[in-house]
C-alpha cells in the first residue's frame, strides 16, 4: 500500500513538473462549474498564463479529506461548504489565509470590510452566497398566492402537497419562522429543548402532506410534475427552471436559509503559489460580479452587488433574483456552521426518529 502511494505520488509529482504552471480546482460540477469556468478560470488564464484544471466532485470536501489523510494531495483549491471549511481548518487540513492579502474593493475598501459577515474564516474565503427558498407552482392556486413561510404550513388555504428536504438543518428553521419566530432568534430557539419541540410540533401539522427530497434536482422535478404545490428548493436551481425553462414557478424569499461556498487550500497542495493567486483573483470584486451572469448565486463581496448586470440571455435583470437582494434578506436565516457542528448528529437522530414514527 505504502509503496503504491509513494510511487503514485512520485509519478504525480513528475507529471506536474513536466508541464507548465497550472492549478487544480475541485468544485461541484454542473451549471455551477460552468459559471466558475466562465467568470474565474478563463480570465485567470488569460491574465497569468496559468492553466486551470477543473475537477468535479459530489462534495469536494470528501476528496479533500481523503487526499489529506492519504498524504497524497493532488488538488490545489477546493470549493467547500462553510461547515466543512471550519471543520477541516480545526483539524489542521487547510492552509491559513490572511484576509489582508486579499485584493481591496475598487473604491479602496479593504477586503475585511468588503466581504459580507462570516465570509472570511481562518482558512477560507467565500465566493458565493446561495439560498434555500420556498417556491410554488402558480397554476396550483386560484385567487391569493402564498407570500410567507406561514403560508407554506397552511394547507387549508393553499392546498396540495409540500416538498421538504429530508434533514433537520433545512426544515426546523422553517417551522420556527412559520410559527412566528424572527429569523434572528432561530438558533437561540433551536439551542433549547422547548424550541426544538416547538419546531417538531409545527412540522407535525404538515407531516402527512409532505414529500421528502434529498437531491437538489428533486424539488424542481416535483414542482414541475405537480406532485407538490409548494416546496423548498435551492434558489439557483429554481431560477434556472423559471428563466431557462419557462416553468410557472414563483419564489417566496420570506424565511430564506442562506449558505456560503468557500475556497480553501489544503496543506501540501502541489502548487501553493498558483493556488493562492487563483484564490485572490477569483474572489475579487469583478469576478464575483461576473459569475452572476451565469448563475443566480450572490457575490460574497458587497462591492460586487452594483456590478451585477444581466443574465447571459441578455434580458433578465439578475439583481432581484439574487439571494442577497434587499427583499431576499428581509427575513433570512444565515447558516450557523458552529451550531450544526455541535448538534447535527443529535438533531439528525431526533429528526429521523420523528420521521420513522407515524
Amino acid at each position: 500500500m505504502k509503496t503504491t502511494l509513494i510511487l503514485s505520488t512520485a509519478l504525480g509529482g513528475f507529471a506536474f513538473a513536466a508541464t507548465a504552471q497550472e492549478v487544480n480546482v475541485v468544485s461541484w460540477g454542473g451549471a455551477y462549474e460552468v459559471s466558475q469556468v466562465e467568470a474565474y478560470n478563463k480570465p485567470f488564464t488569460a491574465e497569468t498564463g496559468i492553466r486551470v484544471n477543473m475537477l468535479a466532485a459530489d462534495n469536494p470536501a470528501t476528496p479533500l479529506r481523503a487526499q489529506v489523510e492519504a498524504r497524497n494531495v493532488s488538488g490545489d483549491v477546493f470549493d467547500v461548504e462553510v461547515s466543512d471549511a471550519i471543520r477541516l481548518c480545526d483539524e489542521g487540513a487547510l492552509v491559513e489565509i490572511d484576509p489582508a492579502s486579499l485584493p481591496a474593493a475598487p473604491d479602496g475598501t479593504p477586503a475585511v470590510d468588503d466581504f459580507v459577515p462570516g465570509a472570511l474564516l481562518d482558512c477560507a474565503v467565500a465566493n458565493i452566497v446561495w439560498g434555500t427558498v420556498i417556491s410554488y407552482n402558480t397554476t396550483k392556486f386560484e385567487g391569493d398566492a402564498p407570500t410567507t413561510a406561514a403560508d407554506f404550513f397552511d394547507t387549508e388555504t393553499f392546498p396540495g402537497k409540500r416538498g421538504l428536504p429530508k434533514n433537520p438543518k433545512r426544515t426546523l428553521y422553517l417551522a420556527l419562522i412559520a410559527d412566528g419566530v424572527p429569523a434572528a432568534e432561530v438558533y437561540d430557539q433551536l439551542a433549547t429543548d422547548e424550541g426544538v419541540q416547538r419546531a417538531f410540533d409545527k412540522l407535525d401539522t404538515i407531516k402527512a402532506d409532505t414529500v421528502w427530497w434529498e437531491a437538489g434536482a428533486q424539488p424542481v422535478q416535483l414542482l414541475a410534475d405537480g406532485e407538490v404545490s409548494m416546496t423548498t428548493v435551492y434558489n439557483g436551481r429554481v431560477f434556472d427552471a423559471m428563466v431557462a425553462e419557462n416553468q410557472p414557478f414563483e419564489i417566496i424569499w420570506d424565511g430564506q436559509y442562506m449558505d456560503m461556498d468557500m475556497f480553501v487550500i489544503p496543506v501540501d497542495a502541489p502548487n501553493p503559489e498558483a493556488a493562492m493567486e487563483y484564490l485572490k483573483f477569483a474572489t475579487d470584486t469583478q469576478r464575483l460580479a461576473d459569475q452572476a451572469r451565469y448563475i443566480a448565486y450572490g457575490p460574497a463581496r458587497k462591492s460586487s452587488a452594483s456590478l451585477v448586470g444581466l443574465y447571459q440571455d441578455g434580458v433578465t435583470e439578475m439583481g432581484p433574483h439574487m439571494p442577497t437582494s434587499p427583499e431576499a434578506l428581509a427575513n433570512a436565516v444565515m447558516d450557523d456552521p458552529e451550531f450544526w457542528a455541535d448538534h447535527a448528529a443529535e438533531l439528525t437522530e431526533r429528526f429521523n426518529s420523528w420521521l420513522a414514527s407515524s
Binding site: M1, E91, E346
Partner: protein, 433 residues
Amino acid sequence: MANAALDPHAAIATTASGVGQGLLTTADGKPLARALVRSQRRARRRAFLLVLPLLAFVVITFVVPIGQMLQRSFYNDGFSANMPQVSAWFAATERGTDPNDAAWAALAQDLVASADARSIGVVGTRVNYDMPGTRSLFTATGRQVRGGLEPPYREALLEINETWGDPRLWSVMREASTPVTANFYLAAVDRTRDDEGRVQQVAEQQRIYVTLFWRTFWLSAVITALTFVLGFPIAHLLATLPMRQSNLLMILVLLPFWTSLLVRTTSWMVLLQQQGVINDILVWMGVIGGGQRLQMIYNQTGTIIAMTHILLPFMILPLYSVMRTINPSYVRAARSLGATSWTAFRRVYFPQTLPGLGAGAMLVFILAVGYYITPALVGGSSGQLISNMIASHMTGTLNWSMAAALAALLLGAVLVLYWLYDRLVGVDNLKLG
C-alpha cells in the same frame, strides 16, 4: 478360484506387497514418492501464482479497506492521541475521581498543545459523539488558549467556559481517553452511558436504530417472499417453453436487469406518483375521483414495489437454471402413478427446485438488506432502511465510527442468518446456476 484374479482387493494386496519389497523409482532413478510430491508442489505453486493477482486484488480492495472501516467501529484515538497527558491521568485514577490540580494542569497543557497542532477539532468531534454540543467548546477554547495558558488552570478554563466543570463532560472524556470503546455499538442499538457509566436506553425521541434494523429485516423478508411469488411461475414458464419463445422471454427478464438502477427507480416514480401514469389512468377510467389519488410512492409501499421489481431477476435466474435441469419425466411418472397435479407438483417438482429457491432467496434477501439508493429516492419517511442511516453518517455527520458500527451489526446479523440457513437447509443445497 478363477475369481481370485478378478477380485479388486486381491489386486491391491499384491501391489501393496510389491511396494513393501523395494522402492519404486522414476526413470532417472529417483524415488517415485518424493518425485511425485515435488512435482505436485510445483503444480500447486504455479496454480497459486496464477491466483495471486486476484488474491492480492481482493485483499487490497476488499479485505483491507473493510477491515480498516470495521476497526473504526471500536477504535477511535481522536481524543487519546491528541490529549496524552489528561488521558494518562484518567488511566491512573478510578472512575468517579474528581479532577484535582494535576488533572486540570494536564487538561490545560493538552488543550494548548492540541490547539497549536490544529488537532483540537478532532478532539472536539470525538467528545461530541458522546456529549452533543461540546465540539464548539473545544474549538472555541482552543482558539482562546493558542500560545499558552496561565495557572491556576481550573479557574482559567472555567472562566473561558464553565462547562469545563461539568462532571458529565469529565465522565465522557474518561470514556474517550482509551481508544478502544464499545460506545459506538451501544449507540447503534439506541443505548448510551449515564454519568456513572451504566448502560441505559436513550431518550424516546432519539431512538431510531433498533426500529430501522427491524424494519430492514422485515421489509427484506417481504420483498424476498414477493419475488418468490412473482418469480416462480415466470421461471417455470421460461424453463418449460420451447427455446425460441423462452429466449425472447429471457431477454424481457434480462433487459431491466441490464438497465441502470437509477433509471428503473425513477421510472417507478413516474408511474406511481400521485400525478403519475397509474393514478391518471385510474382517474380517467373513473375508478377513483380526482381528489382521492392513491399514495403509492414516498412510503413503504413505494420501497416494496420498486425493490421487488429491481431484485426480481436475482430470484428468477437461479430458479430458472435449476428448473431447466429437472427431468419432466419425474412429474409424468408421478401423474401416471395416480398423483393429482397438485400432489405431483408439491411432492415431486417443488422439492427439486429448492436449491434454486434457496440461492435466489439468499441473494435477494442479502441484497435487500443493504439497499440504499432506491429507499432513499422512493421511500419517503416510512420506507427508509438502516443503510440510509449508514450513508447519512458516512457523508452527512461524518461520524465514520458510527457508520462502521451500524455496518458491522448489519454484517453480523446477515452472517447469523446465513448460519441459520446452513443449519436448517444446508449451504450445499445452494445452486446459483
